[in-house]
Point group: C2
Chain length 584, copies 2
């Protein structure tokens, strides 16, 4: 490609609404152009990256035996009503009426449509397993779209759906996709982790997020540097502390802590480590009648160590809480604890009183001795609190906190570390959630109808661009991995308008690289060297060859990799083999 036949459009400054580096750089590099909130034009430079991402996905999906199809953007509401998602999904689901007043949606995913296809097309166990995918425009009407392609409204997603005869076969389909995703992300040339994720109501252990590592990532990734353990923070298990609980050594003491309503403040006031304090969190669960009216509520006290954080996903799996919970109101707290929030604790809440509170202690808290907690009296805390001696053992001990760096790895093979990531892919075992809702059955070997076991597998195609840039950039701009760069090599001739030699040498190298199948761009715009270099460093082309009159007279050109500190002189005669080696 020659630059004058393409479209290069860079900006010195990013628009004010671009908050994160990938958004700023994509705007400045002319890769995307805002059309509306969360809606972007993909400009030629950005589209080239998308096409390369799509091509890698397509090749690996096909190699894994998945079959590509294309499901519509605008889908009839009926199928979404069959699964209940038409009503259950909030305003993120963009709903539209056609000229006849019929309801449609703009697809955010395609579980319903693919299950409708499967229940018509996959009639016998002989046709299973089957995995269909498509790469298609999606729309999610985010309340607050931001961060460019990271949280847009219209985006491109690859979504695949597997259909299997039983749970074992579905597991094999899942493993197959997991392996394909690893190959895909390897080929992108991005640092990533496959991270075990929560499976929610589906259950089982088959849910993995593919996270691109980036300091700016929204998600916390938990991993063990000395094993292959990796999970997201919702799922990562915090093991119980080893050994027995220490014996009580301090007397139970009520201590004034006026105005100190946080564990940190209390620890500081008392000169104790934060790890000696216990945080009280009050939840409530409601029983409703068939009209949805609340007929009975139960209050729960959850205890985590002062430096720990409650993990709501873990809490939501516990008996009593798994039907859904909410944080208690101040009135409920005062009614149950006789005290305002900030000074709550587990002592004096024994069962049998008017409003019994159920106490759930995190494993770490249950292991503590001589700890500090609220006294259920404003401006007072208790120190030297000990289970068994000062209060009964908790109703339930469970893992209800987020892990922290330094926790033991659940696989017993080291200690956990935390890094930030950007979720760009997800593989998920769906079980019969959709096939049951839509009665998608096949006939098994005995001729009996059986629900298909499903899995779904998504990759945020356009989000990959943002994630790749968050991971790979410097002060000068984007640094694309070779595999998904808009161009692999850029040739920058200096003064080609004045020097026939430069022009001829640039054209020759361009022709040779094209003949080798290299995705090369010749910058024939006639820009000054500084502007030209700045453009390609901003755009992030990984390999640059500069040809100038002086160098050519010495039989040399200059090569600079996008991450290189300085240029390397290469003999004209060697430049092709040199580049071949760099691109290998």
């Amino acid at each position: 490609m020659k630059a004058t036949q393409f479209f290069v459009s860079t900006l010195k400054e990013a628009p004010a609404d671009a908050e994160i580096v990938s958004h700023k750089l994509m705007m400045r590099a002319g890769m995307i152009k805002r059309l509306g909130a969360g809606i972007y034009n993909y400009m030629p430079m950005g589209l080239r990256v998308i096409r390369k991402v799509e091509a890698i996905i397509r090749e690996e999906m096909n190699a894994a035996g998945a079959v590509e199809c294309l499901m519509p953007v605008i889908q009839p509401a009926e199928l979404w009503q069959e699964t209940g998602r038409f009503d259950k999904m909030g305003p993120e689901l963009l709903r539209v009426k056609d000229r006849h007043g019929r309801d449609f949606i703009v697809q955010p995913t395609s579980e319903e449509v693919i299950t409708d296809i499967a229940r018509q097309e996959l009639r016998s166990y002989r046709q299973l397993p089957k995995n269909f995918y498509h790469i298609q425009t999606k729309f999610r009407d985010e309340r607050r779209p931001r961060f460019g392609l990271m949280r847009g409204r219209e985006f491109t997603m690859k979504d695949a759906y597997s259909f299997d005869r039983d749970v074992d076969a579905a597991g094999r389909s899942y493993d197959n996709m997991y392996a394909a995703y690893c190959r895909i992300f390897d080929r992108f040339g991005l640092a990533y982790r496959a991270v075990a994720a929560d499976t929610g109501a589906i259950g089982g252990d088959r849910s993995h997020e593919f996270q691109v590592i980036a300091d700016t990532g929204e998600d916390a990734i938990i991993y063990c540097p000395t094993s292959d353990y990796a999970a997201n923070i919702e799922l990562a298990e915090a093991l119980a502390p080893q050994g027995g609980r220490a014996a009580a050594s301090l007397p139970l003491t009520k201590t004034p802590t006026p105005g100190k309503s946080t564990c940190a403040d209390v620890a500081e006031l008392l000169g104790l480590p934060l790890t000696q304090t216990v945080k009280s969190l009050v939840l409530a669960t409601d029983e409703t009648d068939k009209d949805g009216t609340i007929v009975k509520s139960q209050v729960w006290l959850l205890l985590v160590r002062g430096d720990h954080e409650l993990n709501e996903v873990k809490a939501g799996k516990l008996e009593g809480l798994k039907g859904g919970f909410r944080f208690a109101t101040v009135a409920e707290i005062e009614d149950h604890f006789g005290c305002k929030p900030g000074y709550l604790g587990p002592i004096g809440l024994t069962a049998g009183v008017k409003h019994p509170v159920k106490i759930i202690a995190d494993r770490t808290v249950a292991h503590m001795a001589d700890f500090v907690c609220g006294a259920n009296e404003a401006d007072f805390h208790l120190t030297g609190v000990n289970w068994g001696r000062d209060l009964p053992e908790p109703d339930l001990v469970a893992d209800i906190r987020n892990v922290v760096a330094g926790d033991a790895s659940p696989d017993g093979k080291g200690v956990l570390a935390i890094q930030r990531g950007i979720e760009v892919g997800h593989v998920f075992y769906l079980g019969t959630k959709y096939s049951a809702a839509m009665n998608a059955t096949f006939l098994d070997e005995t001729g009996k109808p059986k629900l298909m076991e499903m899995g779904c597998y998504g990759i945020g195609v356009t989000r990959i661009l943002g994630a790749a840039i968050e991971q790979n950039h410097d002060a000068r701009g984007i640094i694309w991995p070779d595999a998904i760069a808009p161009f692999t090599v850029v040739i920058c001739p200096i003064g080609a308008d004045r020097s026939e030699d430069v022009k001829a040498a640039a054209d020759k190298l361009y022709g040779e690289l094209k003949a080798l199948g290299v995705d090369v761009l010749l910058d024939d715009r006639g820009e000054r060297p500084g502007a030209m270099f700045a453009d390609w460093e901003l755009i992030g082309v990984p390999h640059r060859v500069v040809l100038g009159d002086r160098g050519l007279k010495e039989g040399q050109v200059e090569y600079q990799g996008r991450r290189d500190e300085a240029a390397t002189k290469v003999a004209v005669a060697d430049v092709l083999s040199f580049l071949k080696q760099k691109l290998a």
Copy 2:
């Protein structure tokens, strides 16, 4: 590709709602699957054709210097309000509100968005010409979607938009696209014609439809078999008959024609050729005040020969009618002609009467002598009517009829013929229609802002599939041209489950063809020969190789082209070179 790793799903019968052959065959061949009215899933077999069509378009667009981008499906209403199309377009434009109640549309085309991009990005004459295109999902909420992909609601279109500094440059961009379209349609392997089309209010002669020839086509294509003239019926000019008008030879006679209100009936009753009769069509134009109230109407009598048809597009370009016209009401007709429709004529409507009627005669009618027309009296016609003698010359003589086969070609190089076509592409010079509405200017050499001259160029990607099938099918199914077939070659082994030789030979040929880059499918489903052949003939794979035990023992396989009457025996040793020749 092996069939078991792909998805082959054929039907014996087409669904009842499939009316035309392409729709029936695509459904039966498992290429598309209906999701809703005018909304289809593209199944794997159909998607392969789409991808090949897209790839050809992309290659030729790029080669022609156009640059690919991707504009969103969901577009903010604001831009569409700038051009007025948000209000002007009828219910075909699918409108949608987001969660904040803001108006959006689902794009039917992208003139507004690309013009918005151009007015921001193309600031100088140095950046022109520029041509942007995208291949993207479109939606048109057709009142009555039908005919499968031929008149669907959601479809894929390639739309390109050129931006130029002046009319001459825009002409070159137009010619460039016209040439690219010819290469694209040549590569598809379809019989087509580029047909001059009406330019409407834009004017000029730069509008061509690319029509795929098919007997079942909706459009009439006018062409001259002995020259390169081709136009659609709206545009094709009917020349004035040669030579002078014949002299009057019959007396004007009023003849009873009770109940005979059509030219055909009158000609039959009187034993005269239909070409001797004249048809009267009454139009009206309205003048309105600023509130849209009709303040004055004018009635027009348009005369065409009894065997000819009025061309409303041509009529709509005439002085007095070009502001818009309608057919007159019966009341208006009786008021102006003193007679009910069916017996109207141009005699006795002289100016100066209470309601003057303006008379427009088609060129052919103006050339007629001794003709027959209505007497403006129920159940009576006049014969032997002659211009000048029996009535004044018409107010206007113009080409207002559709051409018919046998008319002289407007280029003077033969006589016209008519064939049917399916419009799948359109190149169109837009002038400054959109750039003026959206103030899309660039700075010219003198630094002055100037409106960009635009052109737009569409190809109905998914419609190509329907058109290709309408043109290429037989009783057994589809006959794809090689370039856009879902697979180019299918290998059908017979009894591979019983014969290791058959299986080995099939695998070997499959591997060899793949190594050559041939898009080959190996049917390893284990179907019986009859069912297997029927599937591939229905699906329309152009080249088939059959391997059987008996043939292999004689060192032979069977080749059959999809249009061949019978199979050809080919020596196993020669099959590769034989196929190479067939695919060349």
